[in-house]
Symmetry: C2
Subunit: 186 residues, 2 copies
């Protein structure tokens, strides 16, 4: 069996203007450079109707988006289980919590309880700033405040800014190296 | 925020006759009993056409199944990253390797290299036996033999049988407890 190693630096280029592309590019960089194995999960759909025009062909003709029960990204880094959700907002002063489902927060807490590292990545697009907020700090906020939104200042205070670079675009594992250990258990 | 805990033992009942149901039931049991957080990933599809009959409604009208780049199941158990693929075969004497994509084997090797625990679960349906085979032992076989199929006897020799019970249906984490440590690094 041939273990192929694809290194194509041109694919990390500037096409990624939004957060999802930046994270996908970053994860590809991590994978190609043997740093971590982190993937975005496929979009969750319920298939109602499919047709089979050929023996090995299937066309889905009716399907619906499902509310995801977990987060979008997970994987392994230095033996640690990594799990996070990523969202962007055009709001300049706060991050509306309607962006994240309650069961995703519950999921991140379970991850943390079982020794994984759970967090959210939030980009304030108009400020051009991206933050990593560990689930522990998200909980801390939710415990003491109203649950409609998290102020931008809370990210500045408790979150960790992720700088955008050429490659990797969004080196969030740097934050895990620095702070992941202390957040492993809730 | 309310952390809801759903415990509905009746859902672990005998509906799971095939391997996927057995594993899903088992993972639900692990989740509900706070043992581990392991999920099946959604089926990977490429959406070509979607319609929006209402402001918050979307119907996918044309989509295709994608070849998955990773395995079906992953999650966290006792701080360890767990990753596996599950397949059944009606063959009584061997497991045809066409059931598993080469990039899934490459993926499991990467997982193992980064400190996760990677394996396959194979059920010989007509023998009613289910085995867990760690990626290390799968590699060992592939290195020394033809790559078309793995004989049943190899599973008996190097694999670990998983007994089917009421709940959890297929307690594969028992095998991880026993043997996972020695397989963490390749």
């Amino acid at each position: 069996m041939r273990i192929s190693s694809i290194k194509n630096i041109s694919t990390y280029s500037n096409r990624g203007m939004d957060l999802e592309n930046d994270i996908n590019d970053t994860n590809k960089y991590y994978l190609d450079n043997d740093i971590a194995v982190i993937y975005k999960k496929p979009t969750s759909v319920t298939i109602h109707k499919a047709e089979y025009p050929g023996p090995h062909k299937a066309v889905i003709k009716e399907a619906y988006f499902k509310t995801p029960s977990t987060t979008d990204y997970n994987g392994v880094y230095k033996g640690k289980y990594i799990d996070f959700e990523a969202k962007e907002t055009k709001n300049k002063t706060s991050f509306p919590l309607s962006n994240i489902h309650e069961h995703q927060i519950i999921h991140l807490n379970k991850i943390s309880k079982h020794g994984g590292i759970g967090f959210i990545i939030v980009r304030f697009t108009l400020l051009n700033e991206t933050y990593l907020l560990f689930i522990k700090d998200l909980n801390e906020y939710l415990k003491n405040n109203d649950r409609k939104s998290i102020p931008y200042n809370y990210f500045k205070e408790k979150g960790h800014i992720i700088n955008v670079k050429y490659a990797p675009r969004l080196n969030y594992l740097e934050i895990i190296d620095k702070y992941g250990g202390i957040y492993e258990k809730n």
